[in-house]
Symmetry: C2
Subunit: 395 residues, 2 copies
Amino acid sequence: MENFVYQNTTKIIFGKDTESLVGKEMSGLGNKVLLHYGGGSIKRSGLYDTVIKALKEADIEVVELGGVMPNPRLSLVREGIKLCKDEKIDSVLAVGGGSVIDSAKAISAGVLYEGDVWDFFTGKAQIEEALPVGVVLTIPAAGSESSTGTVVTNEDGGYKKSAGADILRPKFAIMNPVLTYTLPPYQTSCGLSDMFAHVLERYFTNVPNVELTDRMCEAVMKTIIDNAPKVLNDPNGYDARAEIMWAGTLAHNNLLDTGRIGDWASHGIQHELGGIYDIAHGAGLAIVFPAWMKYVYKHDIPRFVQYANRVWNVDINPFNMEETALEGIRRTEEFFKSINMPVRLNDANIPLDRIEEMAKKGAENGPIGQFLPLDEEDIMAILEIAGDKSLEEGE
Amino acid sequence: MENFVYQNTTKIIFGKDTESLVGKEMSGLGNKVLLHYGGGSIKRSGLYDTVIKALKEADIEVVELGGVMPNPRLSLVREGIKLCKDEKIDSVLAVGGGSVIDSAKAISAGVLYEGDVWDFFTGKAQIEEALPVGVVLTIPAAGSESSTGTVVTNEDGGYKKSAGADILRPKFAIMNPVLTYTLPPYQTSCGLSDMFAHVLERYFTNVPNVELTDRMCEAVMKTIIDNAPKVLNDPNGYDARAEIMWAGTLAHNNLLDTGRIGDWASHGIQHELGGIYDIAHGAGLAIVFPAWMKYVYKHDIPRFVQYANRVWNVDINPFNMEETALEGIRRTEEFFKSINMPVRLNDANIPLDRIEEMAKKGAENGPIGQFLPLDEEDIMAILEIAGDKSLEEGE
């Protein structure tokens, strides 16, 4: 086990009707809030009205900025920063999913920085301070509601980059599973895929003797696997929605990082896909992860065997460990397919003509991934596996 | 799943050599610290010198109060409060295990309260403020290093009572597994028993649909079970010590409470034992828990079957679920015995002549426990089971 520092200060307020508490929670953070959100879904669902009412009752002045898109855009972040400065806003409330929260985090850091906010994403500057951010979560997926990170896409060049700092952890996250009932099935599935991938990134580590966190990772993955068909078959079932919502947070709140070093190459490769093709993050991960697994599993067969056995209940074949490992990978791919995620590039209508460009960009700052560091050629090979229909199960 | 609020702000600093960071961490909390500890073990181990040096280097003035005993005494807490007031101390550093931390927490709350600190334990007053507390943990057991609670024994009447408040969570907890190498085997075992019991109290709940936290509880319990023999057979093995140390914190940092309601009757009964007999907390729990299980399992056989199957790898006998449930209980008792814990009252030289008195005192404020509320008669019956050698396995 590696030495670690772990502190997650986000206050989780979880359960039915909790969104009505948003005024009380925000009033501890400021007097004039930027209400940040995406499209019209929060207006159609009535959540917008509930939030506005609660903020008004708490005597909080509200300035609005909607229009956040999946893969949140740098241009809107810059617009938000300008708005906050002009209007002397002292706090930010993100009502939505990971894209809205990430956009809100980037704004919150950019407001208190003299330079251009993109500097945080290129590594030119470190985030030292930020306006306090509160969250009302509507999509269980990214885990951004209690994480330190933000991912923003710079439309100029198609760069999707991340930045992070402890100060970016939201002060509170209101999580009502009922608010997720109206998610379209595709978005529900993208969320499932995203949170599952967050655990996978942490699970595949070279650090030995990480039993407790292995088991916690397995607990989260098994919960996602068990509840995925339930939320898809019965979108208004509270219990499964609740399990998935809490799993999405725990998958990415850094608890599962304690004492270990995650991989994150698959996220890196998916960022290249997302930068060019605007594919949903979870969908991209469902394509990349099985391909990554097929490329790297020989690096640590026992770990893939443990994964197959504990997460997928595959009996260990002691005479052929590789077979067991591969069966775990096969079931992972099968799981993504069962929730209607693409598992090959052409399932998502992504042609193979730019994979060389993506591989080059992915490795432009050196090899990516900790489990098995990948250079341009490796990324290229993984994208080729991701593009090869002949490797698909049963074909 | 129940609605919940979860926030744990304690900064965990985990790993080798981390105790040298105590000066830096304390310097964020105050300028004049009460250094609180137990007996001479931290002086013999050299930890005391390391801590003093680090505090001096951070220009922190130190006032000492040692002498904390297991089942920390109200009299010493009162002495600590007076000392803090007289010396105008602004922060408290606990160096030790749960008793030292609990004593430090009680002092930290008592200093800022006009009345008598015991008021917090009788329910006469609520803890509203407290001096900041830092921790250097030396015994993985109680989980007090990141919990909201404190348990103190009033020598006048033998009352062992708890109090709690969010403000009591330590600001930081330094956890170096190497510091636990020198723990005597008996104390190591008491710690294992204590942390295992903390998970059991949460696991046996009447709240349905708590899959994720069930699985997280199982992850912590399985880690304790796997690593218990390792730390006893090889006290200087870093990896197993580290697993146990982190497990002890996660067992009691409230994550495993999220969405569920724990039982806590066994802790209540053990507090009665501890109040009279001064038995180590973990040892008392090893006696009470198997007896409690035998008394209550029929209330929810499927839950006991899940426990037997997932935690103890007992095959489920679908034709006789009760048999499976009982096998899980038998293995629990076997586990406590395997780590040299007492499992009957007379194993700990506790006579049966005062069980009526304990049952009466245990239920004096009404039934205890949430899984199956227990009145005086129930507690009496459980203590009788705990006293009955004939119920012991193989006899």
